[in-house]
Amino acid sequence: MTFLTVLLLPFLFIGLINKMKAVYVGKQGAPILQPYYDFFKLIKKGEVLSDTSSFVFKIAPSINLACTIVAAIILTLLNFNGDFILFSYVLALGKFFSVIAAMDTGSSFEGMGASREVSYTSLVEPAFFIIIGSVAALSGIHSFRNLYALIQIHNEIVILISLLAIFALFMMILIEGSRVPIDDPKTHLELTMIHEVMVLDNSGVDLAFIHYASAMKMLLFSTLIANIICPQFWWAYWLVLLVIAFLIATIESIGARIRLTHIIEYTFVMISVALIVMSLVLLVMHGGHIA
């Protein structure tokens, strides 16, 4: 169920965000299904490849998409010890390929994007691991399920921990999904972009795959949040997704992106939140209030 959602509806999620953003500024906006139309239009097209590029450029978008799909399988279908490690490393494999594909064109803009992408997302993994590691210490479960089990523990500090974990995960969505305040998906000025600039030379099917993969990645992290908040009811899952889409749209409508040199501060906030989660977990365990 969740798997099918993640597989089929990522564009709906993006469409929703775009619609909300349009409503915010008083426009009618594109239809919610617009990303789907774009996707199918791109899928039907041929491609333009750069002269400089090699086989890497051709296979990278497909590998990136495949990695995201496998990450979705890991997150939604199965549970085993250390599944989050595999999840995060599979996504890293996708990132590896998208970075070298950007470098493959020999374009300085794409090099810029690739360089920024690896630099700014380098702190996502440690933050993610510290949070899940701390929660694993708390619940004694070594898989994603430990996050889901968190809400069952009725303790004031544990609620705080869940909130902070959700906050950090939300920050990760914004970084991994290249949204405001890290990156602006709307802008088309090459010098200031991160994710968009990496895919300047992609077209046709490859571009469709890239859009699909990045939308799915956002939905994956959102699913993670939804599962922490309310793992039992299916309707709650949809509600949480809606709320997240709303939050992202709100941030993009009322805020601007931060200066590139300050993005690093943002990522350090994320790491700090992760460290606070860790200390709170230790506090709870030391206090012995755990149910």
């Binding site: 494999l93 803009f109 794409e110 630099s119 440690p126 694993a136 070594h142």
Partner: protein
């Protein structure tokens, strides 16, 4: 136990024989067996397997690699002889169980590798790094000698087996430093990034893939005799492991010499191996044996994996060097077109070394992570704090490895050629040079896809430390996922090909924002690629900038140079050397160069010796 060991050594022994046949060397080991204890247990056999495997591939590789040198009229006889001595001495190191013989083989190993390293001794840089290496190794040996003397005084035996349960914390610490210099732990690593770039490729592959592991072997051997390590020692080892991993990969990111980059990445991997060992030690110290099991499995598997992918990467680097004659990444680019096979192999190696699935590096790191997670069943809050922090650091190291290797791969192979050196490359290296790399790539993929089968290679040495049952189920799950990943990747690539069938695929120049005449110089360089990342880690390295500021209205020419300096070398090694030089300079007068004075020394010595003798007698 012996049976497992015997079964395991069967393969290595076959390969030793195989190697002797190929090389027609005099690697003969029977003579010393008579008087010196000489045991091959599972731990030794494991290392013998690595030494023989990499040694064999190195031999095949060196044949083609050395060909250009033969054409230049270089004499290779002594080099090849020393190569065999080097292999033999490494085997002797892991097999001998006697203090004296161990030290002899250890010295032989250091010395032969030194001579091999200075193959291109005409160059000043090579000689300097060589001497640096030799001196550093002897500092290491000094620690070992002290450690062994202490052990001898305690046990009264030269045989290792007498050490059982008698190794104290102090001895372990001394040995750890001694072996650590060989292994290249931060901050004892300064020889490594100097030695690897100057050595010929097959030698640096052997040194990095195998020789530095003999340091790890020594520590593991001591650990085996130590029994239960104390908590403090275990934490110290963890700290050293994490520091090596972190600083190793940080400096790897900063390098533009690709062989130096690989050398620093060796430090990182040694750090990960040591972290695995530390997890195991903590498990032993806290009586959490599941943790010990995962720690050791990860540690040993990573030793094997590192020797596979690091050898592979050095061989690839050698292939690039043979074709371009430069070790500077910034001078390369666009090599993917003429050297497609090498590019693919380099890419596979980079994926494996960045510990990405479905390759072998991921499996060992995964086991270490699981080792971290299993520590949470021990009720100790200090342990929790440290482990969670270590968890984050290793994850960060993984992210940095990704930066280092995306950087290296894309700057060397992708884009368009940056200088003439890269432009002139017309063809790939010969298939004989690629064959060993293909074998290694295959091993790396197979271990990654079927870890549940190849974990057996490391089970026997781990079982020497603790008895356990192998976690096959977990590895099977990973194996299924890795295979799924490959299948999904193939499906999507197939889907793409299907979609594009019959459609137009045009080739145009890269989009340059409307700019029509791009040159290779406007591409992103390695320096600029890593700049934003290194920008926020400034406290951990020192950047030396050297550029002339533009002052006039019509500037003529300006230059910019930046260099990353290893802080350990700058703040620790350098002051020690300065102090040392100062002290030693006070004794210069002893060596005056006058033969008469030396004769007086001799006479004085004799008189003193005789006086002492007589005095002692009476």
């Amino acid at each position: 136990m012996n049976f497992i060991a015997a079964a395991l050594t069967f393969k290595p022994i076959v390969s030793i024989l195989y190697e002797r046949n190929i090389l027609e060397t005099t690697v003969y080991m029977g003579q010393l067996l008579k008087d010196v204890a000489f045991r091959v247990d599972a731990l030794s056999a494991f290392f013998i397997m690595i030494i023989c495997g990499v040694g064999l591939l190195g031999t095949i590789y060196s044949k083609k690699y050395l060909e250009p040198y033969i054409e230049q009229g270089k004499k290779l006889g002594s080099h090849l002889f020393l190569f065999n001595v080097f292999l033999a001495s490494m085997l002797l190191v892991v097999m001998s169980q006697n203090i004296i013989f161990f030290l002899i083989s250890w010295e032989l190993m250091s010395f032969s590798s030194f001579l091999l390293m200075i193959f291109e001794h005409e160059e000043k840089e090579v000689r300097q790094s060589g001497i640096n290496y030799l001196i550093t190794m002897h500092v290491g040996v000094m620690f070992l000698v002290v450690g062994f003397i202490l052990m001898y005084l305690k046990t009264g035996s030269f045989d290792f087996s007498a050490f059982e349960g008698k190794i104290s914390e102090l001895v372990f610490a001394i040995m750890f430093i001694g072996f650590g210099i060989k292994a290249g732990f931060v901050p004892l690593h300064s020889w490594l990034p100097k030695a690897h770039p100057v050595a010929p490729t097959h030698i640096s592959a052997l040194m990095s893939g195998v020789m530095i592991k003999t340091g790890i072997y020594g520590i593991l051997r001591m650990l085996l005799y130590m029994g239960k390590p104390t908590i403090t020692v275990s934490y110290c080892v963890l700290l050293v492991g994490l520091a090596s991993a972190f600083f190793g990969i940080l400096y790897a990111v900063a390098q533009r010499n690709y062989k130096k980059m690989l050398a620093y990445s060796s430090i990182e991997n040694i750090g990960i191996i040591t972290t695995g060992m530390a997890v195991a030690m903590l498990g032993l110290a806290y009586n959490n044996f599941i943790m010990t099991m995962f720690g050791f499995l990860g540690c040993f598997l990573h030793i094997l994996n590192h020797s596979i992918f690091k050898t592979m990467m050095f061989f690839n680097a050698g292939a690039v060097y043979t074709q371009t004659h430069t070790k500077d990444m910034e001078k390369l680019g666009g090599l993917v077109k003429p050297m497609k096979n090498t590019a693919i192999l380099f890419l596979l190696g980079s994926l494996a070394i960045s510990a990405l699935p479905p390759f072998n590096g991921f499996i060992s790191e995964f086991l270490i992570y699981i080792g971290f997670l299993t520590s949470f069943s021990t009720q100790n809050y200090f342990l929790y704090t440290i482990i969670i922090a270590a968890f984050g650091i290793i994850a960060f190291v993984g992210a940095m490895a990704l930066i280092a290797f995306t950087n290296a791969f894309s700057i060397i192979f992708l884009g368009s050629p940056r200088t003439e050196k890269a432009q002139h490359v017309k063809e790939d290296v010969s298939i004989f040079m690629q064959l060993p790399i293909i074998v290694l790539a295959f091993c790396s993929l197979v271990i990654g896809l079927f870890p549940q089968r190849y974990i057996d290679l490391v089970v026997a040495p781990v079982q020497q430390f603790i008895p356990f049952s192998v976690p096959y189920e977990l590895l099977t799950v990973i194996s299924i996922f890795n295979i799924t990943l490959c299948v999904v990747i193939l499906i999507i690539i197939g889907l793409r090909a299907l979609l594009l069938r019959g459609r137009t695929v045009e080739h145009r120049e890269t989009w340059g924002c409307g700019y029509q005449y791009p040159t290779a110089k406007i591409q992103y360089s390695a320096n600029s690629f890593t700049r934003p990342f290194l920008g926020f880690l400034t406290p951990f390295y020192k950047r030396e900038l050297n550029f002339t500021q533009i002052k006039e209205l019509f500037p003529q020419k300006t230059s910019f140079k930046s260099r990353i300096i290893d802080i350990f070398e700058y703040y620790i090694i350098k002051p020690i050397v300065i102090v040392d030089e100062f002290i030693i300079s006070k004794f210069y007068w002893i060596q005056s160069g006058h033969t008469q004075r030396y004769l007086i020394y001799g006479v004085v010595f004799l008189i003193v010796a005789i006086a002492l003798l007589i005095g002692g007698k009476i």
